[in-house]
């Protein structure tokens, strides 16, 4: 009976087995060279067919310039890539190079998976000067750069012209004050002035920064005194006040089945949302008659400051094909490769390409302007935990469980511990 108890009584151990299995196996997954050519493997989460097609063309250009190198791309969905990277790290079956979400960089740099490019990549300083500083900063951790920005994006204001017109407005709010003024008039028409799908860093940092506040000090070592500063509190307080007035839907608190921002804006229920350039091809398919308006994030005392998104290109430290991998990274940061990917919807990080962007898509112009002041999320291996704290505490403030000052003070205290 005891044996049976053990056999049935420890299902948690099976999950532990998965943890252990992924933490102990070790296989060499580096691609073998075919004949005299060197094959490097690149993992990404490009969306088929547009992005993967453009990337294939870029690879062919690279292979023409480097006839002895073959690039083998492996495409995943975003979530699969995250899981695959984790298990491959544990299993020692990593690729040579990958397109990494910017928020993974400090985490995998700390684990010793990503190589410090500023130490080993020829011409790193020159390349670094050609890219936007915000996206570049996402690669920095403990004195070194563990990648280079590959593509970037940021959140700007996307708005419904018809929703605004119903309440007598012909342009979206340019400032926090205008948001407050417009909210009641839109509410009278059954329209929310703003909607968002969460309270994490990606969602609330634009409001905190635009209010002149910050999450941490400049060296990312302390949150107390910064996240709970008067200015930071005023940024979150704007969301709290608008929610209390019924001018922001409870989608922001995660209400299940609530109308998503991607549907609410084109349906004219949400006057404004903050989102990225990927929404345009989505809406072109699902709401072809919706021409979204674009504007910068409403400005507060700190100006109009948004959050940097996008991906970095990172070299795996254990690659056996370092020279070929470095050549590929350099090529991906070239204006021609960046321009090719821009045509598929990937915003370039190379500043010189920025001027040509509006010829590709007119809406890129506002994103480029917003990027000039956009900031990265705290580059920390503990970012996921920090984000969880921020998410919970800002939700507590919005739902009225705590005052904004109490919630942000509690968050700052917890984040202090995660920054050590």
């Amino acid at each position: 009976m005891r044996l049976r108890l053990l056999a049935f009584g420890l299902p948690a151990a099976l999950i532990a087995a998965a943890v252990v299995a992924s933490a102990s196996a070790h296989t060499d997954g580096v691609a073998r060279t075919a004949a005299s050519k060197t094959t490097i493997t690149f993992w990404d989460s490009y969306t088929p067919p547009t992005e993967t097609g453009a990337f294939d063309r870029v690879i062919r250009q690279f292979e023409k310039l480097h006839p002895n190198i073959v690039v083998k791309p492996v495409h995943f969905s975003y979530n699969d890539l995250q899981q695959k990277l984790l298990t491959a790290t544990a299993g020692g079956s990593l690729p040579d190079v990958l397109r990494s979400d910017i928020i993974w960089v400090p985490q995998y740099a700390k684990l010793g998976v990503y190589a410090p490019l500023d130490k080993i990549l020829p011409g790193f300083k020159r390349i670094a000067k050609t890219v936007y500083p915000g996206p570049l900063a996402t690669n920095f951790w403990h004195g070194h750069y563990y990648g280079l920005p590959l593509d970037t994006n940021t959140r700007i204001q996307l708005y419904s012209r018809s929703a605004l017109e119903q309440a007598g407005f012909n342009s979206p709010p340019k400032t926090f004050a205008q948001m407050r003024t417009m909210a009641p008039k839109l509410k009278e028409k059954g329209i929310y002035v703003f909607a968002d799908g969460g309270t994490g860093g990606w969602n609330v940092l634009p409001w905190i920064w635009s209010a002149g506040g910050s999450l941490t000090n400049k060296t990312y070592t302390k949150a107390t005194g910064y996240l709970n500063s008067r200015k930071s509190i005023s940024g979150v307080q704007l969301l709290v006040d608008l929610y209390k007035e019924g001018a922001i839907p409870n989608l922001i608190l995660g209400a299940s089945g609530a109308l998503q921002t991607s549907d609410g804006a084109p349906q004219g229920k949400y006057a404004t949302i903050l989102d990225g350039p990927w929404m345009f091809p989505i809406w072109a398919g699902s709401y072809p008659n919706f021409p979204p308006g674009v504007a910068r994030v409403p400005a507060g005392a700190g100006g109009s400051v948004s959050v940097v998104g996008g991906e970095d290109i990172a070299m795996i430290k254990s690659t056996k094909h370092a020279a070929a991998t470095k050549a590929f990274i350099q090529f991906m940061l070239s204006p021609s490769a960046q321009l090719q990917m821009a045509k598929a919807g990937q915003m370039p990080v190379v500043k010189s390409v920025g001027a040509q962007l509006t010829k590709i898509h007119s809406y890129y112009g506002t994103f480029v302007k917003q990027l000039a002041t956009a900031r990265p999320r705290t580059p920390s291996p503990n970012w996921s935990k920090i984000d969880q704290v921020l998410n919970t505490q800002v939700a507590n403030a919005i739902s009225g469980k705590e005052t904004t000052a109490q919630a942000l003070t509690a968050a700052a205290h917890q984040i202090d511990g995660l920054l050590k």
């Binding site: 056999a7 420890l10 999950i15 252990v20 684990l111 409870n250 995660g254 299940s256 089945g257 935990k385």
Partner: protein, 281 residues
């Protein structure tokens, strides 16, 4: 050998990992922290909340599955028309995919555009506002529990049905001859005869209750704001979202110990009762 490889080794490794700030990179340096991760648990409010949620799920689902499973088993033990069909129908939820039914329940209980709220609000007009079934802690835990009960009744029914068929007819007839009614016969003859099956079902359901994962993960993901975390979703988030395998392993090992201890206590209690019944009879 199989037991050692699939059960003992992972437990040992999980225990080892829980003593380190574990670096998942092969050959990477992992710093030894001793019992620090276990100390963290004691001061971690989310751990206690996830433990309380798992305990609530267990306390909510186990009695209902036993009582309803036994009731259905008694009904389907009787010679009624279509008995085979009803047995199959009641067992059907057991063989359906957890993923499919969890997502189905998520849709049914969605605050907006959910079927249940549509019935309550627009169908029978018992509420003017949509109910946030999955948006706050206790309603969400009850909803997750309802899925557990719906999916689990068939399993306990099957065990009880098999046990009921083993109750000697002579005992029931003797009770009837002695003047016992249906309830008295059930209480004094049937229940003692199937007590081992009841013990088995209880132990297994308690273990399963503490190990709730798939439904909670898919229906709420532990949210909103970690209000509906259960121990395994919290462990999953620590290990696979935060890459904190040391703390994740400590959570897994703690759960293993708790479940093991509770199961031992239950078995001793049932054994003592069984001895008592044997002496009495």
């Amino acid at each position: 050998m199989l037991f050692a490889v699939t059960i003992l080794y992972p437990i040992g490794r999980a225990l080892e990992i829980s003593f380190y700030n574990w670096n998942i990179l092969p050959g990477g340096r992992s710093s030894f922290v001793g019992l620090h991760q276990y100390g963290l648990e004691l001061h971690d409010p989310i751990f206690w909340r996830s433990f309380a949620n798992a305990a609530f799920y267990m306390a909510f689902t186990v009695p209902l599955q036993i009582v309803l499973g036994l009731a259905v088993a008694v009904l389907l033990d009787a010679k009624i028309p279509g008995r085979g069909l009803f047995r199959a129908l009641y067992y059907l939820p057991v063989v359906t995919s957890w993923v499919v039914v969890s997502l189905l329940f998520k849709y049914l209980f969605a605050t907006y555009n959910g079927f249940v709220n549509w019935v309550l609000q627009d169908g029978i007009h018992v509420t003017h506002h949509p109910i946030g079934w999955l948006d706050t802690r206790w309603p969400a835990m009850i909803t997750i529990g309802l899925l557990g009960v719906w999916k689990g009744i068939g399993w306990s029914m099957l065990i009880f049905l098999a046990a009921l068929q083993g109750v000697p007819e002579e005992l029931k007839e003797a009770a009837t001859v002695d003047g016992a009614g249906a309830w008295a016969s059930f209480r004094n003859v049937t229940l003692p005869a199937i007590r081992l099956s009841i013990a088995f079902v209880t132990v297994m359901l308690v273990i399963g209750g503490f190990n709730v994962f798939t439904s909670a993960y898919l229906m709420t993901g532990g949210g909103p704001q970690q209000q509906t975390e259960v121990i395994l979703t919290y462990m999953y988030h620590q290990a696979f979202q935060f890459v904190d395998f040391g703390y994740g392993s400590a959570l897994a090992f703690t759960l293993t110990l708790v479940v093991f201890a509770i199961s031992l206590v239950q078995m001793r209690l049932y054994r003592r009762k069984a001895v008592g019944v044997a002496r009495w009879s």
